[in-house]
């Protein structure tokens, strides 16, 4: 039995301790916004926050998460898609297929928490998620838009 706090809700679950957090979230909690892309921490599709820090959940055994740690998934980033990043993403119409986008947004939210006004360099270093559809330039622009409180800067 493990206790996990996901999007502020505590869950008591029966789980194999080695199970990666990703699969607990997707298959046992039933929140499927967090995606599987590689399973080896190479793509970022599975990014969630643990106590506010962006974390690739596909390689993190559920047993490594403490009972009081706050896990946030894309579903819990805001109750109504009102997070500044979600708003910026909407304004710039960023997603293509969308499969990588939850991970992108969660990685970007982790970055903005630590660094509210990231430079291009900071974004390059921190957002290493893969998008095969090729939304990178709009992801960058949306992060800057959100960092600027919704004021558009030149598109990067």
């Amino acid at each position: 039995m493990a206790r996990l706090i996901i999007n502020s809700t505590p869950h008591e679950i029966e789980v194999d301790p080695d199970t990666p957090l990703l699969w607990v979230i997707r298959e046992q909690i039933g929140l499927t916004g967090t995606k599987y892309g590689c399973g080896v921490a190479a793509c970022g599709a599975c990014t969630v926050h643990i106590d506010g820090a962006a974390t690739r959940s596909c390689v993190l055994p559920v047993s490594a998460v403490g009972p009081d740690q706050q896990i946030t998934t894309i579903e819990g980033l805001s109750p109504d898609s009102s997070h500044p990043l979600q708003q910026a993403w909407l304004q710039l119409d960023v997603p293509q297929c969308g499969y990588c986008q939850a991970g992108m947004i969660m990685a970007a939210a982790g970055l903005l928490t630590q660094n509210p006004n990231p430079s291009d360099e900071d974004i390059n270093n921190e957002i290493t998620n893969i998008c095969r559809c090729g939304t990178y330039n709009r992801v960058r622009a949306a992060i800057k838009l959100a960092a600027n409180g919704g004021e558009a800067t030149q598109r990067g």
Binding site: R26, T32, G37, P95, N129
Partner: protein
């Protein structure tokens, strides 16, 4: 319903096969029989106005979309075209996919479902617009009948029909039920694109909101009551199969329900969760019959292709003048290029969910071709197609891979072992990398002859390598020749012809098919053909001592559309003015998927480190349905094309692929992304594709810029294998 019965499963399968996958030639759907004639609509509460349009009492307009949305924006673009003719209120538009079985039952009223070859819009714009226009006329007719006035006195704007003379109005929602009873007009006139107000505009996508908060459901996210999950491993050796496996070794592992052999080639574990299925699969002892290809390596494949470069047997794709004689005189330049295998690596791995009973089979699948999925399901279920159904789910990327149906077949084969229980099959990334339908491998030897003034008098291109059609759609081969191997290089084709007039030209193909399964991969053969042609043009210009733009322009007088896009990128990048210190430029142009495209790149190479600063792209797709989505497709195609150029390579060793995940199959990330500027130059009069064509010019423009920066000609990809210092 007679239509269903008269279509035997076998005929249907053939019909589907001929339209599946990448480029379909000559698809010709007679204009849709108005759906009304076939009875009530598909949504029981609300009758459809016709096959394309359902309008609810609250004025919501549901536009039916036959093609698959996989990120390319076709859903929004097609809806714009229907809405344009319908004269509805765009803010009320939503979409739905009709089902493949329904399409079959209704005599293919929605036409082709296949989504590939950048054909979504260009191949269906006429009949979807017609669908919108017919529905509009039926709504007007319903209002006119109600008001007892001539229809010609009524107008329809923004979802409201108005009879000005009597000052009466009715909304589409109020009229829809009556409109459904109207006789569809025999003829409608489509609007001139210059009068468009919904189509042609940079409207936001219709499918963005759900992708921002986790609510968009992909195939991997599907939940059905009592559903089980399957993980699969197919023989990694091409041509091999399962010899034996020890199910008992994992039968007692947590959550495991069963271990099954899937066809000849694969084993799957079915468990309560996918993670448990995969864990047990990883522990399952399997012995493979490794098949006949254990000796095949990348080196042996390269040798096979090299032999083809000089072989006598070849299919001719374009022949002008007498290249052989012309090449024996004057100054000649020869070079050999090579393009490796690539994996599609969609972010969402292949998956499908199947529910089988002896009477019926249902499949939920992200597919680029719902009808091919239906055919595959029926075949695997061994049921008449009328007893099968496919539910199309949003795709987490496609790029051509999801035109193939191997994972559908597997899902049904597994579900047959558990009748009545839905089973969701998800491939691991490793499975996805090892069981690809790879971008085919080719090499090309080019020889050009220059006269004393540096004019190109002859060009010979010998392509040696793999045919996609031979493996995937043999019925489309022409007397043994694969016509699409020559994409972008043919003499005259609305699909894509060469943009240079070269007095003596010979392009031919020695087909060499290694035992690696090929598939349509975004851009298809245009990818390597553009590299071969456009990098070699640069080599020739260099040899002639002529500026690469000027060298090309001399050959392009008869190709004004090719020239226009090339000139546009050259002008925007400032070709005739010096670049910033340390920055170097390259150009490329080609035509493919019906569109004319060009790119100009700016790069720098510092201590061997490549940086792509900026790429300007231009495209002439004839007509523009949504310029904002075109910009996104251009940028996205560059990421895909440059990922291949810089990193992409699947290498073969011991008869199997070596790369198993993104740690060994690297792709481009944010830090490497250049600025992209897109110039859209619609010249009208034709409909070209958007999702693919520009992919092909990214790599040659960058490679030519690298030469300008370093003096190094990169003729084999990917770049990561080369030292640029």
């Amino acid at each position: 319903m007679n239509a269903i019965i008269s279509i035997s499963r076998r005929n249907f399968m053939i019909g589907v096969a001929s339209t599946a996958g990448g480029l379909s030639i000559g698809f010709n759907l007679p204009f849709i029989k108005p759906a009304l004639a076939e009875g009530a609509g598909t949504t029981p509460e609300v009758p459809e106005v016709n096959a394309w349009v359902v309008i609810r009492p609250d004025d919501t307009v549901v536009v039916r979309i036959a093609r698959s949305e996989m990120g390319q924006g076709t859903l929004t673009g097609l809806a714009q075209l229907v809405a344009e003719e319908l004269n509805c209120d765009w803010s009320k538009v939503t979409t739905e996919y009709p089902s493949p079985a329904k399409n079959l039952a209704r005599d293919r009223v929605w036409g082709n479902f296949s989504t590939g070859g950048s054909r979504g819009i260009r191949e269906s714009h006429d009949y979807v617009r017609m669908g919108g226009a017919v529905a509009r006329e039926m709504l007007i007719a319903a209002a006119a009948a109600e008001w007892k006035v001539p229809a010609s006195e009524c107008t329809a704007t923004k979802g409201v029909v108005t009879h000005a003379a009597s000052d009466r109005t009715a909304s589409y929602g109020q009229l829809a039920a009556a409109a459904a009873q109207m006789t569809p007009p025999a003829n409608v006139t489509l609007k001139d694109p210059k009068d468009w107000t919904i189509a042609g505009r940079p409207l936001p996508r219709l499918d963005t909101a759900d992708k921002l908060n986790g609510s968009q459901i992909y195939g991997t996210d599907l939940k059905l009551p009592n559903m089980l999950n399957a993980a699969i491993r197919a023989c990694p050796y091409f041509g091999g199969k399962v010899k034996s496996f020890d199910a008992a070794a994992v039968a007692g592992m947590p959550g495991v329900r069963t271990v099954v052999q899937v066809g000849d080639t694969a084993v799957a574990v079915v468990a309560d969760t996918w993670w448990r299925a995969k864990t047990a699969l990883d522990a399952l002892p399997v012995t493979w019959d490794e098949g006949p290809n254990r000796q095949v390596t990348s080196a042996s494949i390269a040798a096979m292709l090299e032999e083809g470069l000089g072989a006598d047997d070849a299919f001719i794709g374009n022949s002008q003048g007498d290249a052989g004689t012309a090449l024996s005189t004057g100054r000649t330049v020869t070079a050999t290029y090579a393009f490796p295998y690539q994996n599609h690596a969609t972010m969402e791995p292949m998956n499908a969910t199947a529910l089988y009973t002896p009477e019926r089979c249902e499949v939920w699948v992200p597919t680029q071709n719902g009808e091919a999925s239906l055919a595959a399901a029926a075949e695997a279920a061994d049921l008449p197609v009328q007893q099968c159904e496919v539910h199309k789910i949003h795709l987490g990327g496609g790029f051509g891979r999801r035109g193939m149906q191997d994972y559908v077949t597997q899902a049904v084969q597994i579900a047959r072992e558990l009748p009545g229980t839905p089973v969701k099959l998800i491939w691991s990334r490793e499975e996805d990398m090892l069981q690809g339908r790879y971008h085919p491998i080719t090499q090309c030897r080019l020889t050009g002859a220059l006269d004393a003034d540096g004019n190109l008098t002859a060009l010979r291109m010998r392509i040696s390598g793999q045919s996609i059609l031979a493996a995937v759609m043999p019925q489309r081969m022409q007397d043994g020749m694969d016509p699409i191997i020559f994409q972008g290089l043919t003499a005259a084709s609305p699909e894509g012809h060469i943009g240079y007039t070269i007095p003596n030209l010979l392009v031919d193909h020695a087909m060499r098919n290694p035992p690696i399964p090929p598939g349509f991969w975004r851009g298809v053969n245009l990818n390597q053909n553009a590299i071969y042609l456009e990098c070699f043009m640069d080599e020739l210009a260099h040899e002639a001592g002529v500026d690469p733009l000027a060298f090309r322009r001399k050959l392009m007088a008869n190709h004004p559309k090719h020239l226009a896009v090339l000139d546009a990128v050259a002008e925007r990048i400032g070709w005739n003015t010096p670049a910033a210190d340390g920055v170097h430029r390259g150009l490329a142009q080609i035509m493919g998927f019906g569109s004319y495209v060009a790119a100009a790149a700016e790069v720098s190479v510092t201590d061997g480190q490549l940086r792509i600063h900026r790429i300007v792209a231009a495209t002439d797709p004839g007509h523009v349905v949504n310029p904002a989505q075109i910009e996104r497709q251009v940028e996205g195609s560059f990421v895909y094309g440059l990922s291949a150029c810089i990193y992409g390579e699947c290498t073969v060793n011991g008869g199997r692929m070596e790369q198993e995940n993104f740690d060994s199959y690297e792709v481009m990330r944010m830090a490497e992304m250049p600025e992209v500027e897109t110039i859209i130059l619609p010249s009208g009069g034709f409909w070209g594709g958007v999702g693919e064509p520009t992919i092909a010019v990214a790599a040659p423009a960058v490679l030519n810029a690298i030469f300008a920066a370093t003096g190094k000609r990169i003729r084999t990809l990917p770049l990561k294998n080369h030292d640029l210092a």
